[in-house]
């Protein structure tokens, strides 16, 4: 168990600013908000892919970023598993080699391959290890990407609109498997989505964002009730009533 992920950061990318503060406990925290609300920027800053202007990001006792103390742990040392919307499976490697890639290189090669194969089996794609990513279906590729992320024994899992390309049925199956893994590993996971169904299926806690800020934090039942329309499907989110805000 890695402990809570504390996030307090200000960052600006291409003139767009994000100023957020929240805590992600073991389990799934969903960042929920319309496009352009700063969810993905927040995720990139946590992963270390962009450098915040100020703030602090820490997991348990380990500080990843602290502007005051001038700490900025490089991305490769954060042990943060990111599943990108595009999946970003390396096209020149087999599915198995993709999963092996993130496993600690201090381990013997045979053990790394064994672990990778076991994770593929756990994600129900054990039979696809030798296949190239381009020959996989959308759902299969998604499972390989998840296996790659989980096999690296991460401290935190970040899911950036990772399931948006899947149909409803496939998404439901996959969400259940991902939830099971995160519960077993007792990891903090942050999922970015604007699909209410997906958020409800996954979230232990919801952080609602608008225009680069956190506007509410709470349980899924409070934050995602039916008064809030599907965020991806309406344009004018600012006219929508915000559910009861919960103090952080």
């Amino acid at each position: 168990m890695a402990g809570d992920l504390e996030v307090r950061l200000c960052a600006s990318v291409g003139g767009f600013g994000v100023d957020v503060e929240f805590r992600a406990r073991p389990g799934v925290t969903v960042l929920f908000g319309p496009s352009g609300s700063g969810k993905s920027t927040t995720l990139s800053a946590i992963a270390g892919l962009i450098r915040p202007d100020a703030g602090r990001i820490a997991i348990g006792e380990q500080v990843w970023f602290d502007s005051a103390a001038r700490v900025d742990l490089p991305v490769e040392r954060r042990r943060v598993a990111v599943v990108f919307q595009s999946l970003a499976l390396f096209p020149h490697m087999s599915a198995l080699d993709n999963v092996v890639y993130g496993i600690d290189r201090k381990l013997p090669r045979a053990e790394r391959r064994e672990r990778a194969a076991a994770m593929l089996v756990r994600m129900r794609v054990g039979h696809l290890g030798e296949r190239q990513p381009r020959s996989l279906s959308g759902g299969e590729a998604q499972r390989v990407a998840l296996a790659r992320a989980f096999a690296m024994a991460p401290a935190v899992v970040l899911l950036d609109e990772a399931f948006s390309a899947l149909d409803r049925e496939l998404r439901r199956e996959l969400l259940a498997d991902v939830r099971r893994y995160i519960e077993d590993a007792r990891l903090p996971a942050i999922q970015v989505t604007h699909h209410r169904m997906e958020a409800r299926a996954m979230a232990d806690r919801v952080v609602m964002m608008r225009a680069g800020r956190v506007v509410g934090v709470g349980a899924p039942d409070e934050m995602l009730h039916d008064a809030v329309p599907e965020i991806g499907s309406f344009a004018d989110i600012d006219k929508t009533p915000i559910p009861r805000l919960v103090k952080r």
Binding site: G48, V75, E76, A81, V82, F84, F90, P91, H92, D104
Partner: protein
């Protein structure tokens, strides 16, 4: 057909291509992947040899490695022979002429690789060096190979810079391009015909291969 100038041309071009790979790919990668002050200036400096008249380029090379230059004197001290008017000089001439092609091709090929792959690699615990060699370079390899093929073809056919830097010494620095010129000047076209055919076939083959490689840059 005269084989010696052809053999020397291939020897010079292959050696030059190996050297260009070692210098050009890192330079292309540096321009593609790093943001630093003076990046545009470096790009201009590395590209200009493509459009300079060969005699001007040859002049600069002579100034840089001639017997009165620091490099020329150091070389003489170490190897007891000059660089200019030797096979080494011919190789340097070929490198200087072809380097821009490889730098530009490498840069373009690496810039073409979706940055998401590098980000994924970093989050999976790989530093920038492993990311470059394990992810970016393999994904860019077709474009880079296309650049190297063109660089080889350019090195094989160099005339002006080689003439300025290495001279036209039969058996020593007389490449096929220079031998063809001499044969035509001496009204002995028959002597040049075989070399012309071989160089033309090589150039056509190189362009065909480069086109094939370039078209399939995303064909994993």
């Amino acid at each position: 057909m005269e084989w010696a100038p052809l053999a020397l041309s291939y020897q010079v071009a292959l050696t030059a291509t190996a050297i260009i790979a070692l210098i050009g790919i890192p330079l292309g990668a540096f321009l593609a992947l790093k943001r630093f002050p003076g990046r545009d200036v470096l790009d201009v400096v590395l590209t200009t040899p493509m459009v300079l008249p060969p005699t001007v380029l040859g002049y600069y090379v002579l100034v840089a490695i001639g017997q009165n230059s620091f490099i020329g004197r150091a070389w003489y001290y170490l190897f007891d022979e000059p660089i200019v008017f030797t096979t080494t000089g011919a190789v340097i001439a070929a490198v200087v002429g072809s380097l821009p092609l490889v730098v530009r091709a490498s840069r373009a090929a690496l810039e073409d690789v979706d940055p998401q792959f590098a980000r994924a690699s970093r989050t999976l615990g790989a530093g920038w060096l492993r990311t470059f060699f394990a992810v970016q370079l393999p994904l860019a390899r077709r474009g880079i190979m296309a650049g190297l093929t063109l660089g080889f073809a350019r090195a094989l056919g160099d005339f002006g810079v080689t003439m300025m830097v290495a001279g036209d010494l039969p058996g020593e620095t007389q490449t096929a391009a220079l031998a063809i010129y001499d044969a035509i000047q001496a009204n002995k076209e028959g002597r040049a015909a075989g070399m012309i055919a071989v160089l033309t076939a090589t150039a056509l083959g190189a362009i065909y291969v480069a086109n094939k490689l370039g078209r399939r840059s995303d064909g994993w």
